[in-house]
Subunit: 537 residues, 2 copies
């Protein structure tokens, strides 16, 4: 039928609302479900990130198993099992089959998951592509249960069926789902690479992957120390905007604006309040926070920027740790050479702390094996989560590209057995775009990333120079040694001395001259490289 | 405070839900609010697209005014006023300040807006960046009203204040809002370019833009015909997946599966049902649709693909129209040469119709003026909406790049005064990624885009050849004419004939040889080019 011309009332007869689940059903690419390979990786990512977060919060060394079975070419059964704290029975539905709910998004705390979307998104994706509920089993140490969970697309509510409780002594969570429109592939964007890189950035975890062909790979725990726990901190006055300030003010239980500011933000002392009062004379710091207006909030944010602050606390950050990174890289990449660094926290946009960790592995299994030889590779991480997509627009890629690798003995980054590993940690990672797969190319972030990578590159250069000098010395040594016999015979003829003795003395001289342990020349080369690169900094 | 190790109950004490508005507050880049220039363009786009949709639905020639005023460098007041059908007072709140509600998303109909997010997203963006409500004024022809509207971020509900109703005879809607984190710029991604391109693709509309410096530009209506109204059609069996089929079946009021299929889908006849029954023997076509199971839905979708169908109806599509496009391009670009085409509808993924319209403008104000001269430019549209971002990953860009422009007389596309204009229309545009600014690079779409563009390019070639041949003839003519005087004098000496007469005869011969109207050579060139390019097709 043709649509007739309509007046406003007729048009608005059609007015309807849709649920967030209906929205994401039509826009599942927003959640990472675009492309068959990426969709499968997204499912594994969501479950593994939840497992790691839960284990960390409960202080448990994670033991995670990921199994992908092929149902058919474009349909896979994914099972992720952990030894975490478990999910209480009364929360299982919302935890796994409701979008925009969770334990994480409302805390100012660095975590892998932050949106309350991940697991619910998986359940939705299963519903869209196979119509099947997911199966969950969980135990908190006081008995366990298992059930099927679907998501009601119209209402965004979980639908639980087949609930069975047992007394079985199982602690942890196991989630299993069948997903269509998926493809298993051992590419840079696939599940294997995702799991391998997750193991690299989480050396305190044991992760097992069982691939569709039955092949089992275990990335065992390589450090016996839990990562430093991040603290839930207060935001810094330089990291807040007027909207957030106003919203905080309207829900606080503090009696006046002064005490609200001191209690809700870090680094706000009584002395600072006096200083702020002196500048923002129009604002009554003694009135109730809920009486704060937008213009006053804007004014405060402006005034915050005009005074000096102690830098924000940085113990909200949870890093991998240089020693841990090194152990993991040695274990998994097994390179000839390795260098890692954990930089000091830096501040982004004035008030948001972040930390860069970088590592370079060279030789051995470093780089990426291809048919045309080994290529340089960049492994990007944000809050220890591997970023496998959108590399071309990422600040980390940009930082690697901006470095003049020739200065560090790497003639062509693309053509050498080198892996650059970078992890950026922050409560607020400035992602570029929507897929959360690339870090925004902010100059202050790129700069700090470069400093971290160059720090490792300088150590790599020492190694490469050493190797090259060693090689040069070795070939000179060999060349000279070839003439020692003849020279000894000639000298013996001329002097009448014993040829064997002359030869032995000559060899001794040559050997002491070309001592393979000698490093003076290298040290010099390194020093000059160091000052060279500081100019670049 | 440090976070203590927690058990599951302690962890889940923190369990909370957030509203869709809270989610988009933290992820406003998902709605197009990323970067100051783009954010401002997004606001204008949302309001203008709503105005155009409403006018079209009500059968009114749109007259839209867009005004951008600078509040300060990074804050702008945007006012968009239309002469559309208006918004009924009881719907104004939800229409402008609730996310995921609207009149459009649940209809199988080609429209600009389709998500129920646009205007609500603007209200949210104002709330985040300036804390101000938007101001709306609307009249449906029976009195009018104005009010302020904010969005309650926690509940996703509209908050209306200062409602005033009047008897004023105003018909239309005017929305005005103050937005921060914005920048006005006359770049390829800015508001001016957006409005200009919207005028190009909507020649039935008059659009006025008042820029922050007070400059007023009017793009007047250039055609006196409303665009063909799209019909709300039924989906084609080849354009449906199991999830949608099942959901349709579970809400239909039809008594059995046969009648459900015939009523809900296009091209399903009683004879087709018999054919389907013959193949899907396991499925009982006489049972209630709500008893359809997922495996049966999957089976049906599979069986749909195995039988022959009449192609889908294509009157769900609303195109610009070749004549309308040409008029608009002449008006706005004022080129030396223009060629446009409206292709026949094609089918995407077996069941989704789409139409490509293409145009090429050459010379005059075509191309993009830069300091280094005029550059070739691509103007991309989807459902008549200009796409200003993410061009590098768009199928339209890819199609233009794949064309061997040299064959059409364009030596270097990047370096000529040429504008390629492409509009793709479909109920379901396969966008690439999340920003809805690029069409997915599907081979069948790129192919059809190329055919459309090449059709115009062949006509451009005729024009260019004509110009070049004209130029060659002109310069030969001038060269020969230079010798005519001398030759006439020499011949006069030899023969004793009158010099003036000889000269006049010679001139006549030359002029008839180099007749500027003669086109045979051109025609030949064109023919061969045509067959050349058909090989490319």
């Amino acid at each position: 039928m043709a649509i007739e011309e309509k007046n406003a009332d007729e048009i608005f007869k059609e007015f309807k609302e849709q649920s967030i689940t209906q929205f994401f059903r039509k826009n599942s690419q927003m959640l990472g479900y675009s492309g068959k390979v990426r969709s499968l990786t997204t499912v594994v990512h969501e479950y593994v990130a939840n497992s790691l977060d839960a284990c960390e919060e409960a202080g448990i060394f994670p033991e995670i198993s990921v199994e992908v079975k092929e149902v058919n070419e474009s349909r896979h059964l994914v099972t992720v099992t952990d030894n975490g704290p478990g999910i209480p029975q009364k929360h299982i539905g919302k935890a796994l089959a409701s979008i925009l709910s969770g334990t994480k998004f409302h805390r100012y705390l660095q975590q892998r998951g932050q949106q309350g979307i991940g697991a619910g998104g998986c359940t939705l994706f299963a519903a869209i592509t196979t119509g099947k509920p997911i199966h969950a089993r969980s135990g908190t140490g006081k008995g366990s249960f298992e059930c099927d969970i679907a998501i009601d697309i119209k209402t965004n509510k979980p639908l639980i069926t087949n609930m069975k409780t047992t007394l079985e002594d199982f602690r942890g969570t196991s989630v299993s789902g069948e997903f269509g429109d998926t493809k298993y592939e051992r590419s840079d964007h696939g599940v294997f690479e995702y799991v391998k890189r997750t193991a690299l950035s989480n050396p305190h975890a044991t992760i097992k992957l069982i691939e569709p062909d039955g092949k089992e790979t275990v990335f065992p725990r390589s450090v016996n120390e839990m990562p430093k726990r991040p603290k839930q901190t207060k935001p810094h006055p330089l990291g807040i905007n007027a909207r957030d300030l106003l919203d905080f003010a309207h829900v606080t239980d503090k009696g006046n604006i002064s005490s609200f500011l001191m209690e809700s933000f870090s680094r706000v002392s009584a002395a600072k309040i006096d200083e702020l009062r002196g500048i923002a004379k129009d604002i009554n710091f003694d009135k109730k926070p809920r009486e704060l207006t937008w213009p006053e909030a804007e004014k405060l944010v402006e005034v915050f920027k005009s005074v000096k602050w102690i830098a924000p606390e940085t113990d909200s950050l949870s890093v991998i740790g240089a020693a841990q990174m090194e152990t993991a890289m040695l274990n998994i990449i097994n390179p000839q050479f390795i260098s890692v660094t954990e930089r000091k926290p830096k501040i982004f946009k004035g008030g948001i702390p972040f930390v860069v960790e970088a590592g370079i592995a060279y030789g051995g299994d470093a780089g990426k094996k291809t048919e045309e030889g080994t290529k340089g590779t960049i492994m990007r991480f944000a809050n220890k989560v591997p970023l496998l997509f959108d590399g071309s627009v990422c600040a980390i890629t940009e930082a690697v590209n901006q470095i003049q690798w020739k200065r560090y003995g790497i003639r062509d980054f693309g053509d050498e057995p080198i892996s650059v590993f970078v992890n950026i940690s922050s409560v607020y990672i400035p992602y570029n775009g929507i897929g959360k797969q690339a870090v925004s190319q902010e100059p202050e972030i790129i700069e700090e990333l470069k400093l971290g990578i160059m720090e490792c590159a300088r150590k790599l250069q020492i190694h490469i120079n050493k190797q090259r000098n060693m090689h040069v010395r070795e070939s000179r040594y060999k060349t000279i040694m070839r003439y020692v016999g003849q020279l000894a015979a000639d000298l013996s003829d001329i002097t009448g001395e014993n040829k064997g003795q002359i030869e032995s003395s000559l060899k001794h001289i040559v050997e002491s001259k070309y001592d393979m342990g000698k490093e003076d020349a290298d040290e010099e080369a390194v020093e000059s490289a160091s000052s060279d690169s500081s100019a670049e900094e």
